[in-house]
């Protein structure tokens, strides 16, 4: 055992790991928010509730269909993403030309309804969801103990984030998305079905939240308020990274998770507020966010 700046290395690496885990969720969730905001111009306040729905979908799939973690990791995002498609068709599509406030209010109201219904049926105590057998246990890295499930969460989150970034920034489909963000009318006049693309984008963003929810279930338990607690921090992450920036969401998500973890080691009193302090500073110095485009 060695020490760094008077802190035992195991504590340091332990917090670094927790920071990376939290960062994995910040990144996945703020990525979804950025994708949705970029394409729909809507600040999706139901993102936390949709993350919670993902976790509940996994829980219910296990309870009632006997489908475990791995199938749930695919099925839950598809199911919750499909509800996103319905929400977009029924409600959101009428709001694009209005002020951001309308989309924000609608999705916020939706979040309250989803959470209220969940609390009504499941109470507010957390329901346990066990780590899948294949990922139980862990390995000793010498300087710390690394649980397999946590390693998986970090790798899975990074993989999804990088793949999403790649698709948006480097492929033909991504070029359609970026172009439609700038000028949807012209992209449509080139023969691309932009409304369908917008619907699927919302479905994808919601599915990302649900995917994060399934991954969170074995770590944080499954509870109706799991999303609303997390989403406040995630919105701060989005503000810091810059609304609508894909790379910004990913880098800021992981970065702030780590910063938060390190604060817990060196200055524990500030660990719950550090992200908001950074947000305030960024808003003062670079209102568009670290990665945001100006104007």
């Amino acid at each position: 055992m060695f020490e760094i700046l008077g802190i035992p290395s195991s504590a340091l690496f332990g917090q670094l790991l927790i920071g990376l885990i939290n960062g994995s969720f910040y990144a996945l969730l703020s990525l979804g928010l950025a994708v949705i905001f970029g394409m729909l111009n809507i600040i999706n306040f139901s993102h936390g509730a949709q993350y919670m729905l993902g976790a509940f979908a996994a829980y219910l799939l296990l309870q009632y269909s006997g489908l475990g973690y791995w199938p749930a990791l695919v099925i839950a995002p598809l199911l919750v993403g499909a509800t996103g498609v319905i929400v977009e068709r029924l409600f959101l599509q009428w709001l694009y030309k209005l002020d951001h406030l309308y989309g924000l209010l609608l999705t916020f109201g939706l979040a309250l309804i989803i959470e209220g219904v969940a609390r009504n049926y499941f109470g507010s105590a957390g329901l346990p969801y066990i780590v899948p057998e294949s990922l139980q246990g862990g390995r000793n890295l010498g300087f710390m103990f690394l649980p397999n499930y946590r390693a998986w969460v970090i790798v899975a989150s990074l993989t999804i984030c990088i793949s999403t970034w790649f698709v948006i920034e480097r492929t033909r489909l991504g070029a359609y998305l970026r172009a439609a963000t700038e000028n949807p009318t012209l992209v449509r006049a080139f023969g691309i079905n932009v409304p369908r693309m917008i619907t699927l984008t919302y479905g994808f963003g919601v599915a990302l939240a649900a995917f994060a929810g399934v991954m969170a279930a074995p770590i944080y338990n499954v509870s109706p308020q799991m999303g609303s607690e997390l989403i406040i921090v995630v919105f701060a992450v989005v503000v810091i990274g810059g609304m609508g920036s894909i790379l910004g969401a990913i880098v800021t998500g992981f970065g702030l998770g780590v910063i938060e973890g390190m604060t817990k080691v060196f200055f524990p009193e500030a660990s719950n507020t550090v992200i908001f302090v950074i947000m305030a500073i960024v808003l003062l110095v670079r209102p568009a966010g670290l990665f945001g485009r100006r104007g």
């Binding site: 012209l186 080139f190 691309i192």
Partner: protein, 238 residues
Amino acid sequence: MIEAPTPLLAVNALQAWYGESHILHDVNFDVREGEVATLLGRNGAGKTTTLKSIMGIVGRRTGSVRFEGQELINRPSDQIARAGIAFCPEERGIFASLGVEENLLLPPVVRPGGLSLERIFELFPNLKERLGSSQGTKLSGGEQQMLAIGRILRTGARLLLLDEPTEGLAPVIIQQIGKTIRALKEQGFTILLVEQNFRFAATVADRYYVIEHGRIIDQFVNAELEANVEKLHDYLGV
């Protein structure tokens, strides 16, 4: 009299609105297969609105827009594009978040028979040199115009709607665009060209329509140009 062939594009009793403002009142004209028709008119006459109405991107429109005999007036714009009409907007519409190559490859191919990239680079050699540029809007105005025209040549669209492609460009570039339009006509493209620059239009057009206050007020063919120059100056206020 010889029977005229069915026009490729037939616009009849076209009206269009932006919100409450009634912009096009009664627009009627035809574009025949393989010709360059030009729509002339002063600023604010309704030229751009006419092209946007054909393309299905104004608030509300009524009347009839027939392309190859198909009625397009109630179709959404993506279906109009897929019917084989391509639009090059006045503001060019180059995407800042896309590189030059991405901008060029953006419009999907809607039919076979579009130009190959090599052929497009023959028409616009500058584009090939700028292909690596990471932001389409970093090109000069002339290059952006070439990119805006070049990208719709790949799609296989038969009818090109060009909205003031010479606006704000240097004379040499205007010449190059004129040469390109003539080359495209030779390749069998049909072009509806919107212009205020009647001198430029006269170098490429087969048929002229004059629009004022949202109505077509005059029309003539190239052979009648001489006889109409006086009137045109009047219409356009030059």
